[in-house]
C-alpha cells in the first residue's frame, strides 16, 4: 500500500508497510501513481529504473506484513494518577469534571503509595515506568505528589526500575518552589493554555465565571524560562476557534517553544464539538501551521508542535505501531479512591472499573477486551495508510464515538491523517533545510 499526496509543492509517497518516505518530482510522482494501476507501461525508462530499484530494496510497494499476533497479556508500565478530582477552574469542556466542587476528592498518600506498589509489582521486569500526575488540578495535592515522588525514588534501586514523572497543570498554583521541584524530578510538564486570550477565557474559567488567562500566562512564562527539562504548552481547540493556527502563534508570541493543541473531545450534541463540515477549514489550518513552521526553521521564532514531531530514523518498532494506545493493557488511570480505569478518559465510568490499587486487576473480562483493541480489531484501520502512525488510535475516542472500543472515531481519524501528511511534509523540509 502506498499513499501519494501533494503538499506545498512537493509530491510525497509513503510506502505504508516499510515506512519509507519518498519525495518526488512531478514526473516521478505521476509515474508512481500510474505504476499502481499499470506497472511500468508508459513510464520513462530512467524513472522506471528508479522505481524498480526502490521496489527491489523493499521501499516501495512493499508487501503487507503477515498478521502480527498482538499479546493477550500485558505488563503495566504507566499510571495516570488523578491525585485531585477537584479543581480551581471550571473549564466547560473538561472530561474529568467530576464533583469539582468537592475538595475532599484528593488522593491520600496511602492510596498513591499502593498505586506505585501496584505498578512495580505488575511491571514484569520493565525498567522504564511512567507516572503522570493529573486531575482535576494535581497541584491542589502538591504535598502528596512530593511524597509520592520521594517514595517512588526509594523503589528504583530495589526493583531496578526508573520512574519518569510528568505533571499536567492549569498553571494557577505554579510557584518557584514548584518549578524547582519539577526541574529536579519531572521529565515533562504539560501546561494548559488555549492560545489567544479570548479563546482561553471562553472555556477556562474560574468558578465565578471569569476567565483565567491573565492569572496563568505570567506564571507559565516564568516557569518555562526557568525550566530544566521538557514542557508543552497544551491547549484544546473547539468549533469556536476553527482558525486555531492563530492560537498556536499566540502561544509562540508569548515565548513558548514547545506547543500542542488538541481537538476537543465532546459529545456531538455539544455546540462546540467539531463536525464533518468543519474539516475543510481545519485541514487548511493544519497546512497553514506547517507552512508557518517551515518558514521559521532555524530562526529565533522556531517552535515545535507535538503532532508534527516525527522520529523517522529512531521511531517505534512495528509491534508498538500495532498495539493501540495502551489503555487497559500497559496503562491505567487511578482515581483518588484507588479505583483502576483503562485510562483517564474512562475515569468514573462504573462499567469501566478494572480493579483497585490494593487488590489489583479484578475485572479480567474488561482488560481482555482492551488487550484485543488495536490495529487488528478495528476494521476501518486495515485500509488506512496512517495506521502505523496511530497504532489503531484511542480506545476512549472510539468508544465515545461508536459505542465500542473496537470502533473508530471517524472525524478524529480524518484530522489525524491530515496532521500526519503535514508532519511528514514538514519533516522532509526540516531534513533539507
Amino acid at each position: 500500500m502506498v499513499h501519494c499526496y501533494q503538499l506545498g509543492g512537493s509530491g510525497i509517497v509513503l510506502d505504508v508497510n516499510s515506512g519509507s518516505i519518498h519525495i518526488c518530482d512531478e514526473e516521478s510522482y505521476r509515474a508512481i501513481e500510474a505504476w499502481e494501476r499499470n506497472g511500468s507501461e508508459g513510464i520513462e525508462a530512467e524513472i522506471a529504473r528508479e522505481i524498480e530499484a526502490l521496489i527491489s530494496a523493499g521501499k516501495l510497494f512493499s508487501p503487507e506484513h503477515s498478521r502480527l499476533s498482538p499479546a493477550d497479556d500485558y505488563d503495566v508500565k504507566a499510571l495516570c494518577l488523578n491525585v485531585a478530582h477537584c479543581c480551581n477552574l471550571r473549564c466547560a469542556y473538561c472530561f474529568t469534571g467530576h464533583n469539582l466542587n468537592d475538595d475532599t476528592q484528593l488522593m491520600s498518600f496511602e492510596t498513591g503509595k499502593a498505586a506505585l506498589d501496584f505498578l512495580v509489582a505488575n511491571c514484569g521486569g520493565h525498567r522504564n515506568l511512567e507516572v503522570d500526575f493529573f486531575g482535576g488540578e494535581p497541584l491542589l495535592n502538591l504535598d502528596v505528589v512530593k511524597r509520592l515522588v520521594a517514595y517512588a525514588r526509594t523503589l528504583e534501586a530495589e526493583h531496578n526500575v526508573r520512574f519518569r514523572f510528568t505533571l499536567t497543570t492549569n498553571g494557577l498554583l505554579l510557584t518557584d518552589d514548584v518549578t524547582e521541584f519539577c526541574n529536579a524530578e519531572f521529565d515533562n510538564v504539560v501546561l494548559s493554555l488555549d492560545g489567544r486570550e479570548a479563546t482561553h477565557n471562553r472555556f477556562r474559567k474560574f468558578p465565578g465565571g471569569s476567565g483565567s488567562y491573565s492569572a496563568v500566562v505570567g506564571k507559565m512564562q516564568r516557569f518555562t524560562a526557568l525550566r530544566k527539562g521538557g514542557y508543552y504548552i497544551r491547549g484544546t481547540y473547539t468549533r469556536d476557534n476553527l482558525d486555531f493556527t492563530a492560537d498556536i502563534l499566540a502561544m509562540s508570541e508569548l515565548g513558548f517553544r514547545h506547543l500542542a493543541l488538541e481537538p476537543v473531545v465532546a459529545s456531538p450534541d455539544s455546540p462546540y464539538s467539531l463536525r464533518e463540515e468543519d474539516l475543510p477549514l481545519l485541514f487548511a489550518e493544519y497546512e497553514k501551521l506547517a507552512f508557518e513552521m517551515a518558514a521559521r526553521i532555524g530562526g529565533t521564532e522556531e517552535f515545535t508542535f507535538y503532532h508534527y514531531s516525527l522520529d523517522l530514523e529512531n521511531g517505534p518498532c512495528l509491534h508498538k505501531r500495532c498495539a493501540g494506545c495502551g489503555a487497559g493493557t500497559e496503562y491505567y488511570c487511578v482515581t483518588p479512591d484507588g479505583t483502576l480505569y483503562p485510562c483517564h478518559q474512562f475515569a468514573g465510568e462504573a462499567e469501566f472499573a478494572a480493579g483497585n490499587v490494593r487488590d489489583g486487576i479484578t475485572n479480567r473480562t474488561l482488560t481482555e477486551k482492551f488487550a484485543k483493541a488495536n490495529l487488528f480489531s478495528r476494521s476501518d484501520c486495515a485500509e488506512c495508510w496512517a495506521k502505523f502512525y496511530c497504532a489503531g488510535g484511542c480506545s476512549a475516542n472510539a468508544y465515545h464515538a461508536s459505542g465500542s472500543i473496537d470502533g473508530t472515531y471517524g472525524l478524529g481519524c480524518e484530522l489525524f491523517r491530515k496532521r500526519m501528511e503535514c508532519a511528514i511534509w514538514l519533516t522532509a523540509n526540516t531534513a533539507s533545510a
Partner: protein
C-alpha cells in the same frame, strides 16, 4: 544516485524485531485525547546501539 526521487532516511518496519516495551506509553504525553506513536523514540538499548 536517484535523479527524480529522494528517499528520506527512515526506520524500516520489520516484523521480527522490537516489542521490548521500554518506550513511552502513547498517552503519557502532551495529548491525552488522541493516539500517535510516531514521535516516540525507540528505547530498546540493542536497537539504539545498532543505530548509533
Amino acid at each position: 544516485m536517484s535523479q527524480h526521487i529522494k528517499t528520506l532516511k527512515t526506520r524500516e518496519l520489520c516484523e521480527n524485531e522490537g516489542g521490548c516495551g521500554e518506550c513511552r506509553t502513547s498517552c503519557q504525553s502532551a495529548c491525552k485525547t488522541s493516539c500517535g506513536v510516531s514521535n516516540q523514540p525507540c528505547e530498546n538499548p540493542e536497537t539504539t546501539e545498532k543505530a548509533a
